[in-house]
């Protein structure tokens, strides 16, 4: 029996995680998992399963908002999903054999990497002439701010596939979306403009989570009231985050959240050593 205050706390935590996620352009899972696991003391497996449910909700909500503007690269996304779903399924099968200590170390490492990525993240433009041929996996879309037609071509596809496989495995193991791990790779190495990379990744994380979460559901790790509370919170929070998006100063917020993530990483390292 879960106390109503826990439910209220999970809705609130989901809202904060979803809000931060949409402000920073990453999913909220990396904030939600440590809150459920470290702050509320829920089992890591339950935290992961509940968080993956919010990942699917975020993916559907964000993609339905961006669909129709051509920024989602459906073909590239589907191709990369070949790798990311395999990663997710592999994690879903093997994760039960990982000890709490191993999971803590992995979570600590991934949050540390995310913190670094968040501060140092590059934005390469990767734009070709409007008349250029985007090739079989590239794309073109209309950028509202500049009024320009953005055309790009995908390079080093195997690197993108490898990053997607890894992101899928991390998603199924740690309960985060994994977008933060593949968006920089797609942007910096594969020639995909940041906006297209982010939109395509947002679409991908839902199906990637769907490759692992039914296994956790079958194991009874998706606690229905907690998952409902987290999903509702995240959906409300990401809405609010988008609304505040124009007003907040992303730079200082990113720096602050990188520090929060560094603290989370240290907490998990300490727990692994204890």
């Amino acid at each position: 029996m879960i106390h109503p205050t826990i439910i209220a706390a999970v809705v609130a935590a989901g809202a904060v995680a979803g809000g931060l996620g949409s402000l920073l352009g990453i999913g909220g899972g990396v904030f939600l998992v440590p809150f459920l696991n470290a702050a509320l003391g829920l089992d890591f497996g339950v935290s992961r399963a509940v968080s993956l449910m919010t990942v699917i909700a975020t993916s559907s909500a964000v993609s339905s908002g961006t669909a129709g503007r051509n920024v989602i690269n459906l073909r590239l996304g589907m191709l990369l999903e070949v790798a990311s779903t395999v990663g997710g399924l592999a994690a879903g099968i093997t994760v039960a054999r990982l000890s709490d200590r191993t999971l803590s170390v992995m979570f600590a490492c991934v949050t540390a990497v995310i913190a670094v990525l968040m501060v140092t993240r590059l934005e390469k433009r990767n734009v070709l002439d409007a008349g250029a041929d985007p090739g079989p996996f590239g794309g073109r879309y209309h950028e509202e701010e500049s009024g320009r037609e953005i055309v790009y071509r995908v390079k080093r596809l195997p690197v993108g596939m490898l990053a997607s496989l890894l992101a899928g495995a991390v998603s199924g193991t740690l309960g985060i979306g994994g977008g933060i791990l593949k968006v920089p790779v797609l942007n910096a190495w594969c020639g995909v403009p940041l906006r297209a990379a982010a939109a395509t990744s947002a679409l991908m994380i839902g199906v990637t989570a769907a490759a692992s979460v039914p296994l956790f559901y079958a194991r009874g790790e998706v606690n229905p009231p907690l998952a409902a509370a987290a999903v509702i919170g995240v959906l409300l929070g990401s809405r609010a985050g988008l609304w505040f998006g124009g007003k907040a100063r992303a730079r200082s917020l990113k720096l602050l959240m990188a520090m929060v993530l560094a603290a989370v990483a240290i907490w998990y390292f300490k727990r692994a050593l204890a």
Partner: protein, 99 residues
């Protein structure tokens, strides 16, 4: 391959995802509200389960719709790609049902 049909697919998938997330959110909100009252436990569980099932099924449906559309566009490379992703999800579901 035509740019127009892929644009149409994007709009269709967007609507599908929106319908999925909205109906899941409605079931989960209603289910959680009833669950909090402590009464009608059966109804609350039913709504919560339905919401979670809809949520998990939405990405799968997105893959199925994409598969049909790529077949209609006769884009066989993407039919194969989409079929592979669908296969992975079917493996997941089969393993989940066996547990």
């Amino acid at each position: 391959m035509s740019g127009e049909s892929i644009d149409r697919l994007e709009v269709t998938l967007g609507r599908l995802l929106q319908a999925g997330v909205l109906s899941a959110a409605a079931c989960l909100t209603a289910g959680l509200a009833i669950w909090m009252t402590g009464a009608w436990r059966g109804l609350a569980t039913l709504l919560l389960t339905a919401g979670l099932m809809i949520l998990m099924a939405t990405p799968l449906l997105r893959v199925v719709v994409s598969l049909v559309e790529y077949a209609r566009m006769r884009d066989w490379f993407f039919v194969a790609t989409t079929l592979f992703v669908f296969g992975v999800l079917v493996v997941t579901l089969t393993l989940a049902l066996r547990q």
